[in-house]
Amino acid sequence: MSGPAELMPAMVATCVVVACVLAVAGRVLPRRVIDGLAIATMLGVTCAAVVLLRYTGEGRRYLWMGGWGPHDGVSVGIPFVADPASAGLAVLVGVLTTCALLFSWHYLDAVHGHFHALVLLFAAGTEGFAFSGDLFDLIVFFELMGGAAYALTAFHIEDETSLQGGLNFAIVNSLGAYLSLTGLALLYARVGQLGLPQLHDALAHQRADALVVTSFVLVMTGFLVKGALVPFHFWTADAEAVAPTPVCVLFSGVMVELGLYGVARVYWTVYAETIPAADIRRAFLVIGAVTAVVGAVMCLGQRHFKRLLAFSTIAHMGLFMLGFAVLTPDGLGGVAVYVLGHAGVKGVLFLLAGVLLNRYGTIDELRLFRLARDQRLVATVFFAAALALAGLPPFGTALGKSIAEDAAATAGYPWATALFVLVSAATGGAVLRFGARTFLGWGDTPAPDQLAGTRLGEAVPEEDDMPARTPATMLSAIGILLASALAVGVVPGVGRAAAHAAERLIDGKGYAGQVLAGQPPAPLLPEPAAAWTGPGIWLGLLSTLLALVVAAAGLWSGRLRWMNVADPVMRRLHRVHSGHVGDYVAWMFAGMAVLVALVGLPLV
């Protein structure tokens, strides 16, 4: 036993084995056993991830698979590497999956354990993706994540919107993976190795020529598609509007964030010492800013709550990208905290959407008008989560936001700080507006002709025989997620741990040195500035206040926001999100062209 690094492949393998058991025996096992086995497995995996995180500390643990270690800086094998970032992501995956399975307890129509098997295989894919230290292996686990996700999205086959959402998701993400593979092939032709450490050593201090830049753009494409960044983001709103509720928790909480993790890991380990940082910074700042703005604007114009939340995720991914794009440890550390807080908050909001969908058969804002005024507990939790999304201290989202804003301002991009405030205010305001209409009955009464409209993901009830009171399992899942989001902001040391994790991730040279030659990791910066600051708290309160203003404007502006047909830009933007897969692929190539231009032209 060489130590806790062995937990990494053990986690992946255990999820696969239990998934197979559930798939095969699901027809004969009673539902409680299926639920129990799945939840017990994910709890075990979460505990293993916590142990691994504890032993990883602030360094790295690695394990070469199959016993094929490195010799003289090259190897035939594949390493799995646990640094604080990847171990932390594994914990996040475990917690979110456990909560999702808890929410699905007993009531979700699970088709003889197929649902649970697919969720476990999805978890295996995400863990493999987080740990893998080989670029081809990353793409394989990326496709495993995707394969399970496509089937989960379209799980309610009676609903045609689910099917189409699943199809758009599947075609666009698969094409993204194939493009990443193409980029990898280009790199392999030059270097002759596939592992991240070996690629680092081969490319460090080389000139960034056409092959390196093209392979960079192609490899990043797959991750950018997964990460819902403009213009690769169209599938996200389609898929998350129609997927089963627990699945949306996983998508918004960890799957799209793994796209950004892929970008960060591959950039910092392979390309950081080849392509000049200024070009990368410019390219990703542009992408992040555009994504944040588009996501926020589209979010405000939605009346379908899950689609609204999906656009909010897109907007937040834009903010996370901004935090990464300043290319400093502080920025990335702030993003890490923000991701943790966001996962909890977004999970709560999606689960509440599921509760509403089941109780009232709809999650359309206008159709739900005034319907839920007697749901006191649900309303309280909802508004807490909505305010957390807007950036109210002391939630984890506000802490992450404040650290990232500070990092952006220090790096010389004060406009990014303003974007953080405005975008979180916009998305928080949209959610608050929805809540005010539904739970408080505020706002103008919708006219009868406005009540019609597409019913996304509403055709089929998700749960069978749900009792009048929300079951304890669902409430506990919601409670765990909300408490976690609060804990991230309140528990001391989270910011510092995240900053150290970011530093380790950024240290690509140290990654290669340690995994290939066993060199000890470099010492960390003594005391990173990653805690609550005065300006951070003020900006958090400011964004919350602005969110309330946005919500009020949406409720009582006299002219309902989504009926804003007089505004040609809004109309054009809504029409661009057409639901047509050909459009999405065309935009994908346009996005790749923009990235090639932003990164490649300055090097010509």
Binding site: E158, A185, T454
Partner: protein
């Protein structure tokens, strides 16, 4: 013709993507996705090729073990990707069948449920 094989693979990827953009039938779109994937196979295998009588990387009584063989790793990668592609295509075709059944059409232009 030192780069002809690579250009062919790039053409296949682009042609497959073009097919998806202009597709009028979901099954056609899924097959175009397979064409794009086939482009990556061509790229990988052609990267591994070696002139000068290199053998296949399988040894036996006629071929003693030696390194004058084509690259086995890209072949292994291609094998992995073929399996992935086949199974993802199956999933997509299942979706296409169900969509066609529910909506009576498999033309992306006419599937209009997810607008806005």
């Amino acid at each position: 013709m030192h780069v002809y094989a690579y250009l062919v693979s790039g053409y296949l990827i682009l042609a497959g993507s073009y097919g998806i953009v202009r597709s009028r039938h979901l099954v056609h779109a899924v097959v175009c996705l397979s064409v794009a994937q086939a482009g990556t196979y061509v790229l990988l295998i052609s990267i591994g090729y070696q002139h000068g009588g290199a053998t296949a990387p399988v040894f036996g009584s006629t071929t003693k073990p030696n390194t004058h063989a084509v690259d086995p790793v890209v072949q292994a990668m291609t094998l992995t990707d073929i399996v992935v592609s086949a199974t993802v295509s199956a999933l997509l075709l299942a979706l296409a069948i169900q969509i066609n059944k529910r909506q009576g059409t498999a033309d992306p232009d006419e599937l209009a449920t997810l607008r806005g």
